[in-house]
Symmetry: C2
Subunit: 420 residues, 2 copies
């Protein structure tokens, strides 16, 4: 693969997002306005929204979820950008990571200096069955159209991983517990509770109803009990799956040469990898995503970095098994070693390679079109030392990354940001 | 507005498209493969598809039309591109013009050297009512959700134009007749007949059934008779509206510095304008599209050209009135003068400013996601002197353009290509 480079450097100068959750009284416009206002306010030296020259908006399928497509100009109108250009990108759950990447290209090309990128999705107004049907639009035709749902696909992947490497469902539980341990420290998280807190709350509810109290000694007992953690598509249980969410996120990108006009702490975009995948009907392996590997190759190649140079990363955990496999595909761990790293605490907030300090999709939520840029908002917070109680405490924290997955591996991105 | 420029020049080195039509036995993959194969074959000095580094694919809402989203990786798989990046852009009926523009940025940024751009849409498997519902997803919420359909919106626009400038439905008929006069010369056209031919065929059918033969002396008589040209949403009659279509189109873009390796006749991308619009609930005028005006400003600004420098143009004529207003917004004619220019033959194939030599959306067809790049395929054919019987016969034909509209003005692009 050729070494990728940009003709002009690009920086992030602002970032913001809504709380993720299920908001019956907020539509996509309300959500984006909230994220946008926080983003504008985040620019250290102040920012005039009139300086935005174009918008890139990730959205998976509000077409399906709320029967409205063509969202880029709607959002452009909302934020007072019209008649300037507004473009929607769609790569399933990686839609806004694509928006980010196109914003980078638009500036690196020399055409624009300042671009807004972001994403939005409005899922909770659809029934649970409707969400499953809508998400299945993102699978390849050989999956969704023959009855495979997302939990089904990832259940198959987990089974293959277990068979190949000797892991078991308990190894996935460790991922869930780890991610939820970060969630109470993230005010934007949809489920800001640890598994322990949810277990204790459940015990209280059972007690209050006068029913027999389960003998759960710890989180593993709790997650092993089908009455608390029922199977969805074996071995994917409820706590292996991210929730249904609404939300929006965005970032302001600027040419590196003008970024210092807006902040003394810009982040530089040093890696923007992307890959496509063929679906598992055509994959050589069920325990690896070719799109992630290509994205990693592009991003590492551009940055000149190796996996060990990444100091922390958000990694797309729509299902627990997804985080596990992606951390191996990204080179953080060797194939078949990822689950041992989780067991040994390597990926904890205070471990040597923190993964999903935000709580991940599992706890933070997953409004699909908004997820890509929301992951980068977390990297922004961490690298600027603004992550509060979930701040990664490494000395000289300088390089963070985000991995975003669309569909069942159809689209993957890997983005590396650096504080200089 | 700042003068827009690209840090690196971009050229078109290949182009192709399917015939447009209603194809019950071809799906989006079949259609794209057909356009792709023609595109590869069009590269003068030969082309290895493995040299493609990324794909940008425009698609409006196959989500709705055939219940499948996330098309970029599906097409990437189809053409053997996986695991390289594949990104879908959506801007309603301007979706593939956006793909073209992102392809330009990706190369101009220095990241890629060779990129495939294109579009596809599969509409005819949906009922006519379904198509109307699907297309209404592209209007702004203040239009589609309160019952406005596309013909309804453009009917209102036409009424406003008539009232303001003293035009009438006959002026729109001139546009239809002009576009259909070019269609028999375009082998890719869905309706490759002149209005006269369709009138004569209808007379023959009536005769053969032994019914009374209408006294139509010419096309205007025919189009004025509601039995032949019934109203859809007054004053939009059947022959003011483009058909429902399936189809695909694509182009290969390469960095200008390597284009000569592939062809001695590359086209250079000298203008890539885009704009967004707020819908007519918020427009200052019903007889102008702010998104088109912004797109024109960007493209003319980048190219250093004026409207009079454009030697011919494809102009988005989803409805006859759309072509008329856009030719004014693009500066080809003064506001309120466009209909007179059509009447005087200015926009005919042999006129001083040929518009829609391909037959336009009205005759060529309008598979919405494929339209943007298909317009540019026409510009490619004309500028390379490969348009056959519909070739523009100007001396030193060097500069052509294409204008693409999405929704009811939400997204517009204006792209200028040059043969050097």
């Amino acid at each position: 693969m050729k070494k990728r480079k940009l003709g002009r450097g690009v920086s992030v100068i602002g970032a913001g997002m809504t709380k993720f959750g299920m908001f019956k009284n907020k539509d996509s416009k309300d959500l984006f306005a909230e994220a946008f206002n926080e983003t504008i306010a985040s620019v250290d030296k102040g920012f005039d929204p009139n300086d935005i020259e174009a918008l890139y908006l990730g959205n998976f399928s509000n077409d399906f979820f709320v029967h409205q497509a063509h969202w880029a100009p709607i959002i452009s109108d909302l934020i007072g950008l019209a008649p300037k250009p507004a473009t929607r990108t769609e790569g399933a759950c990686a839609s806004s990571a694509l928006a980010f990447r196109e914003g980078v290209f638009a500036i690196a090309s020399g055409f624009y200096d300042i671009v807004l990128v972001g994403g939005v999705e409005e899922m909770s107004k659809t029934s649970t069955e409707g969400v499953a049907e809508g998400l299945a639009l993102a699978t390849v035709p050989y999956e969704g159209k023959v009855g495979f749902t997302f939990p089904g696909v990832f259940g198959v992947i987990a089974t293959a991983y277990f068979a190949k490497y000797g892991a078991c469902h308990r190894d996935l539980m460790n991922i869930t517990i780890k991610s939820h341990n970060n969630a109470p420290f993230n005010p934007k998280a949809q489920i800001p509770f640890t598994v322990k807190q949810m277990m204790d709350a459940k015990i209280e509810r059972i007690k209050s109803k006068g029913r027999p109290v389960p003998q759960w000694q710890n989180e593993i007992d709790f997650l092993s009990d089908p009455s608390a953690n029922p199977p969805v598509a074996w071995p994917m249980h409820l706590y292996d799956c991210c929730p249904i969410s609404d939300g929006a996120s965005c970032m302001i990108l600027a040419a590196e040469d003008i970024a210092k006009n807006f902040t003394d702490k810009p982040l530089n975009v040093i890696g923007i990898g992307q890959g496509s995948g063929r679906g598992f009907h055509a994959a050589e392996s069920l325990t690896s995503f070719e799109a992630t590997k290509n994205a990693a190759k592009e991003a590492y190649g551009m940055s000149g970095l190796k996996p060990e140079d990444i100091q922390f990363s958000e990694v797309h955990d729509c299902f627990s098994i997804a985080e596990l496999i992606h951390t191996e595909d990204l080179g953080f761990f060797k194939p078949g070693e990822g689950y041992k790293a989780v067991r040994d605490g390597v990926t904890r907030l205070d471990g040597p390679m923190p993964i999903n300090t935000s709580g991940g999709l599992k706890s933070k939520g997953h409004p699909v079109g908004a997820t890509g840029t929301s992951q980068l908002v977390e990297v922004w917070k961490q690298l600027r030392n603004e992550a509060g109680e979930r701040q990664v405490k490494k000395k000289d924290l300088r390089i963070g990354a985000a991995h975003n997955l669309g569909g069942t591996g159809g689209t993957c991105t890997f983005t590396i940001l650096e504080r200089r």
